[in-house]
Symmetry: C2
Subunit: 223 residues, 2 copies
C-alpha cells in the first residue's frame, strides 16, 4: 500500500508544479535525491513515480543528465493502441471504420486551411509516377499521403490520434497492398489523385466522394 501512495505522491507533485507554471516543456525536474527529500519517500517510490510520468509521456529521462518535461504523448498512445489490437479487443473492421470517418473529418479541416498551397504541392509530388514504384515505395507514399492530409488539417489532437494508430495501420496497409492486383492499385491511385485534385480545385463534394470511393476499394479487398 505504501508503495502505491509513494509513487502517486511523485506524480501529483510534478503535475502541481506544471499546473502552477513552475515546470514547462523543456524544464528539468528536481533530481531523484531532491524528490526523495522533499516528498520524504524511498528512492524506489520516487523511481516508480518517475517511470509512471515517463510512461504518460509527461517527462523524458535522459541518462546521465536528468528528467525533463517533454509533453509528447504520441508514443505512449501508440503502444496503448498496439496492445489493444494485440488483445484483440479492437477489430480491423473498427480500425478501418474509424480511419474512414476520421479521414472525412480531416478532409473538411484540410479543405478549410487557408495555407494549403504548400501541402497540395507536396501531395502532387507523392503521387507522381506512383504506379511505377516498387511495392515498398508505394506503401511508404500511401502512408505519407494520408499523414500529409492530417497535417493539413492542422489539429494536434487529430494528429496525435492518427499518428498513434498509424504503426498498427501500416502493417495492415502492407497486407492490403501486397494482396491487391494491378487493377486494384490503379483504382486506389485514382482515388488518391481525385482527393488531391479536389483540394487543388476547391471541390469539396468531389473530395468527399473520392474518400468514400477510396475506402470502398479497400473494403472490397479486405472482405
Amino acid at each position: 500500500m505504501s508503495t502505491t501512495r509513494g509513487f502517486e505522491k511523485v506524480i501529483n507533485y510534478v503535475l502541481e508544479l506544471i499546473q502552477s507554471g513552475n515546470l514547462k516543456i523543456g524544464s528539468e525536474l528536481p533530481s531523484e535525491r531532491q524528490l526523495t527529500n522533499i516528498l520524504e519517500l524511498s528512492r524506489n517510490s520516487v523511481r516508480e513515480g518517475l517511470r509512471s510520468l515517463e510512461d504518460m509521456g509527461i517527462i523524458k529521462s535522459l541518462h546521465g543528465s536528468g528528467n525533463y518535461i517533454s509533453g509528447s504523448i504520441s508514443e505512449n498512445m501508440q503502444r496503448s493502441f498496439e496492445s489493444m489490437i494485440l488483445l484483440r479487443s479492437i477489430s480491423m473492421k473498427e480500425i478501418i471504420s474509424f480511419r474512414k470517418s476520421i479521414e472525412l473529418s480531416v478532409y473538411e479541416l484540410a479543405f478549410e486551411n487557408k495555407n494549403k498551397t504548400v501541402y497540395i504541392e507536396k501531395l502532387s509530388v507523392i503521387l507522381k509516377d506512383f504506379l511505377s514504384q516498387p511495392l515498398e515505395e508505394q506503401i511508404k507514399r500511401d502512408t505519407k499521403f494520408h499523414r500529409l492530409l492530417v497535417s493539413m488539417a492542422e489539429n494536434q489532437i487529430l494528429d496525435i490520434v492518427m499518428g498513434s494508430i498509424s504503426k498498427v495501420y501500416l502493417d495492415w496497409v502492407r497486407d492490403v497492398l501486397s494482396d491487391m492486383d494491378n487493377l486494384g492499385m490503379q483504382h486506389l491511385h485514382e482515388a488518391h489523385l481525385r482527393i488531391y485534385k479536389s483540394l487543388a480545385e476547391e471541390n469539396k463534394v468531389e473530395g468527399i466522394r473520392a474518400i468514400e470511393e477510396h475506402y470502398s476499394i479497400i473494403e472490397k479487398n479486405v472482405w
Copy 2:
C-alpha cells in the same frame, strides 16, 4: 542503463505471452517472485516493468491478489490528454474543432446503426424537461447526450478517444454553460432536440445541419 533494460524485459515478456495467446484479458500474470526468477532480474526492475504495464493500461494490479491483464487504456489516455492541456500544448480552439469534426463522424456511424431504437429512446429521456433542470443537472445531461451518441456509433476507438478527452471537455462544458444566458441555453437545447429527431426520423442532412448549428452556438459563446 541496466535498470532500463530490466524493466523493458518485463514488458517484452508479458507482451510476448499476450501475442502467443498465453495471456488473455482477465488472465493472472506470473507473480513478482516468479518474474524475478524467470527473467533473472532484481525485484525493483520487475516492479518498474509492472508499473509501466499498468500505466499503459495493459495490466491491473489488485492489492494482495496479483496482477491481471486488463486491456483498459481509457484512463491512461485521459491522463495524457489532461497533461497536454495542462502543458498548454493544445488549445481550447483545437479541442472544440476536434470535437465538432469527431461528432460529425460519430453521427454518420450512429445513423447507420441498425439497432438504434434503444439509444434514441434514451436520448429522448435525457432531453425531457431539460431547460427546467438546475445547471449541474443540465451539464450532466449534456455530457450524457453526447456520450450516448458516441456509444450509438459502436466504434471502440471513437469511444476511447472521446472518453479520454471527456474529462477535459467537462470542465470546459461547465464554464460555457455557466456563462450562457437563457436564450443561448434554449438554442443549445433546440440543437440537441433536432439531432435527436433527425435520428428518429432518419433525416441525415438535418442531423448534420443541427450538429453544425450546435457548435456555432458554442463558438459564439466562447469567442
